[in-house]
Each structure stands twice: as C-alpha cells, then as structure tokens.
Amino acid sequence: MPMPEWLPSRRGKDAQRVDAALWSKCPKCGEVLYRRDLAANLYVCSRCGYHFRMNAYDRINSLIDSEFTEIGNDVVSSDPLGWSDKKSYPAKLSGDRERSGLSESVVCGFGTIGGFAVGLGVMDFHFRGGTMGRVTGERITLLLEEARNRKLPCVIFAASGGARMEEGMLALMQMAKTTAAVSRFMEDGNFFVIVLTDPTTGGVAASFAFQADVIVAESKAMIGFAGRRVIEQTIRQRLPDQFQTAEFLLEKGAIDMVVDRRDLKATLVRLLEYVGRHEQ
C-alpha cells in the first residue's frame, strides 16, 4: 500500500482502538468520551446529546434518592421449553448474567425519587435484548401488585426487543399477565408512568408500556410495534431515519412527551407532585 493511503487508514484504526475501560466513542458524532465524565453526564454524549443505552443499576442510582429495596430478585428463570439452538437457553442466560451483572432483564423495587415514594422497574437491553420472559413478567407483576398494596405510584423504564422467543408462548402470556396487573393497579386510582427508552418494541410496547397513564420517551429512542427490519421486508423499501423515533411518536400523538435524559428526574418529580405522597 502506498504511503499516502496507508497513513490515513492507519490513523483511523488507532482512533477506533481506544481503551474501552477508560474511553467510549459516541456512535453518532464520533467524539471520544472519558468514561467517568460520560457516567457523570448520565451516559449522554456531551458533544451531540446522543443517549447511550443505560445499565439498569446506573439508571436506578441516577433516580433514587438513597435506599432502593429490590423485590422479585429471587425469582430467576428456568428453561420451560428445553430450548437449545447454537447454545442452550440456560447457557445464554448465564452468559448474559455474567456480562450484564443482572439476574434478569428487569430490576424492580421501591425507593424515593425527589422525596416521593414510588415503585420503580427498570428494564435493561443488555440482558437478552430486554426481552420479556416469565421472570420479567413476574417481577413487573410483583412490582405493580406491591405498589397497589402500598398505594404508591409506579414508574417503569421500558427497553425491550419484545417477547422472549426461547420461552415461547409462556413469554407471550406475560403480556396478558402484566396487563391484568396494570388494570388492577389503575382501577384502584393509582398513577402509572412509563418511560420508553431505546429501543422499546413488540410485546412490551404492546402491553404494559402503552397502558400507562403518562408516556414519557427519551430523546431519539426507537419505539414501535414491529421492528424496523420486519417493516422494511414487508413493504420492500427503506424507511426514513426519523420513522419510529420518540419525536415521531410525539408528533403522531402516541406519547405525552420527549425528554432529554438529563432532565428526566426533574420531569418525573414534577409529575409525581400532582399525585404522589411526599415522604420527607
């Protein structure tokens, strides 16, 4: 390769090869971000405002004032279908547990946000693509049932590729189960806020997520029923970039507001002020 070509290609490679433990590269603007700064900025690119996908516990720490008491964390998956493809389902699960540090695709519990006691559920896309299996459905149901008992508002952060294939119809039934729990929770006059984060699709979007009283979405989050690829295959043409973004849904009247992650806690507190019970 001649020098004039080799040099830039070499430089490009170096730029990409940053130490992932220390640095993250913004996939949108290419800015290299120091990880500690990125974490302090709630995983939002300081240059272009791109929202990185957030780990469930980082999210909880960014919202909850101090104590967070988890519920349902002792419920973990088994393998109802005896599923195996390239790997067995239990092997996939233990791989995801190791990588994500989570026992399932959702973390649920109770704590206070800006002094308001709430039930909080946070889904995490890093665990099986945030898919909803039996444990996901069970934990969300437990959260809604307990919040109903305590007459507390519920805030759930959605991030999901939909129902989990490896649990088959038992995964689909979690749509029915969470729906029933949401309905009871609401019938008693309790307040349910959902925050749609990137991405929220399929069985989660089409059950408890879009049943909430107030639907908030993070900036630029991809939200839809069918995945982009499925739609493109069906209609045999490329979709515009803006399609299925939070901003698109706001314009179409499907959600209440689009919020930058850095304003999210303040937004939730404002909403809770209308209905919540102040603890302090």
Partner: protein, 328 residues
C-alpha cells in the same frame, strides 16, 4: 405450485378421489363387478390419508393452520343463529380484517369477534391477509367494552399471522391499540370464550384471546412469533422456520400441557377443511357448553379466576424441569 405443503400433499389425493367417484358412478350401473374394486380403492385411499395426515409435525401443523380451505372466522360466525355486524373504530376507519357484532348462539345473545383472512386473493387483499391494523383492534376494544357494559358474553375466533407491521399501523400506534385491547379483555365483566381456529400469531392473536375458556382446534397453532419471524429474529435466517416451529412448542398439545389452552377440539383426518361443517358445529357446541358454565359465575368471581389464570402462568413448571428458585 402452492407454497403450502399440505396443499401440495393433497394433490395426489385429489386424483384418487376423482377415480373413486368415477368408479362409484360406474358401479351404480353394474354393482356386482365394480363394488369390490371401489371398496379396494377406498381402503387404499384411507390408508394413504392415514399415512399422510395421521401424525403431523409442528411444521406440518403450521401449514394446516394456514390451509386456504380451512374454515375461517366468518365460517363459524355465519352458523350462529343470527349475526348483526358492527363496524368501525369511531376514529378513522373500518378494518375488514376484524369482524364483530351482536350475535345469537344456541339462542344466547353474545358479542362475537374474530380475525378474518380472505378466502381468495381478492378478499385477502381487502382483509389484509387477516392481519389487523390498529383500527381493527380499536374496533375490538370498543365492542368488548360494549359487551361488558351490556352483560353480553364475548365469543372470539382467532386466526391471524399477527398484527399488521406496516407504516400506517406504526403511525396509528399499533402498540397502543393492542395494549388497550388486552386491557379491555382483561377487565371485561362478562365471560370470554376464545377459539384458535387457524393460526394464532403473537400479540396480534393474543389481543382477541385473553379468555376464561380457551379452545384450540387440534391442528391450529398459537405462537410467540411466526416460525419465520422467530428464525429471522434469532438466527437472521427465515429459512430455518421449520426448525423454529419444532422448538417453539406451538401445537395444541404443547399448549394444553402448559395450561395455556383449556380444551382441544379434534379435527377429522386430514384437517378441519375435510369436514368443515361438522367442525364448525362441534366448535359452536363447545363454546356453548363453556358459556353455560361461565355465565353462572358472579362477575367478581369470574374476574378473580381470570386474573389468577394468567397470574399463575408465570409460575408454571413442568415435571422434571428445574424450578424457578433463588438466585445464587
């Protein structure tokens, strides 16, 4: 060539059927010489039928559920004593892939709903191959709420590949339409009896299938995703659909074992379309029996039972499986 493997398999049978019919006609003129030949041919025919359709793999059942001649929702609804169709979502349009309205079944007033695919190409285009748009689910929600308020039991027929995945469906909030429909069914203060008569595809099917009593035809399927969709999602390869069909546990037997399906209705050898009239009749009888039992329950009890039914599906365990236990 049809892309339905059951239709392909039936082609040879059609030839055999034609010959039997011819021989029968001839034997009417000369009964002594021909009748043994007819009997032999008929025996052979039954043998082949048994061989081809006696046991069906999950993938074969997927094709059986999609068979173009399989009775559709309207084939069932048209056999009710009376049906007065209601239209529209009151917002935007009427979606012909969902049919619904007041009906009488065995003299009992009910609200009936079903996903409706086309019985030929022209009708399929009009009915979007039985894939409802948000407007279809909004019509279903509206009629389910109406039924709840008027105290009419809800009877549904499920037959869809899934909810429509098009641009306009996304623009009109398909997720919200299905989510709201699920809520309407979960909270309806009247008995709900649903029957999976063909393909039960994903959340688009579930929207009409939350029920106090769920019936499934023997060769119908009910699945978290279509086998093609599952293969595309997991392995980015839709051609592995047959493998996905086997793994997904989408047959009536599997789902009965899981406690998702309450009753399986046997089909004639070779599938429901071989004696559609009888299948429809037996289905309506089964629906009626379930309604008779469920209408005796007070609404509060019915709702509690329905809640617990779906509540338990998170905790279900089959024999020999490791239980849901404590995390390490």
């Amino acid at each position: 060539m049809s892309n339905n493997i059951i239709v392909e398999r039936e082609k040879g049978m059609v030839e055999l059927e034609r010959r039997i019919a011819e021989l029968r006609e001839a034997s009417a003129a000369q009964p002594l010489e021909m009748s043994s030949e007819v009997a032999a041919l008929e025996k052979k025919y039954r043998q082949i039928l048994q061989e081809l359709f006696g046991t069906l793999s999950p993938w074969e059942k997927v094709h059986m559920a999609r068979h173009p001649a399989r009775p559709t929702s309207l084939d069932y609804i048209s056999r009710f004593d009376r049906f007065d169709e209601l239209h529209g979502d009151r917002h935007y349009r009427d979606d012909p892939s969902v049919v619904g309205g007041f009906a009488l079944i065995h003299g009992r007033a009910v609200m009936v709903l079903g996903q409706q695919r086309g019985r030929d190409t022209k009708e399929n285009l009009r009915r979007n191959f039985g894939m409802p748009a948000p407007e279809g689910y909004r019509k279903a929600s509206r009629l389910a709420r109406l039924a709840s308020r008027l105290g009419l039991p809800i009877v549904t027929f499920v037959d869809t590949k899934g909810a429509d995945p098009g641009i306009s469906s996304e623009e009109h909030a398909q997720s919200e339409a299905i989510a709201t429909c699920l809520q309407a069914f979960a909270t309806a203060r009247v008995p709900i009896v649903a029957t999976i008569v063909g393909e039960g595809g994903s959340g688009g099917a579930l929207a009409l299938a939350i029920a106090d009593h769920l019936i499934m035809l023997e060769h119908s399927t009910y699945s978290v995703a279509s086998p093609e969709g599952c293969a595309a999602i997991l392995w980015s390869d839709a051609s592995k659909a047959e493998e996905a069909a086997a793994r997904l546990k989408l047959t009536a037997d599997d789902l009965h074992r899981f406690g998702i399906v309450d009753e399986i209705l046997p089909e004639p050898l070779g599938g429901a379309h071989r004696n559609g009239s009888d299948v429809v009749k037996r289905t309506l009888q089964a629906v009626d029996v379930a309604l008779t039992r469920l209408t005796e329950l007070p609404a509060e009890r019915l709702l509690e039972q329905r809640y617990q039914k779906y509540r338990r599906l998170g905790e279900w365990q089959a024999e020999g499986l490791e239980p849901i236990g404590k995390a390490h």
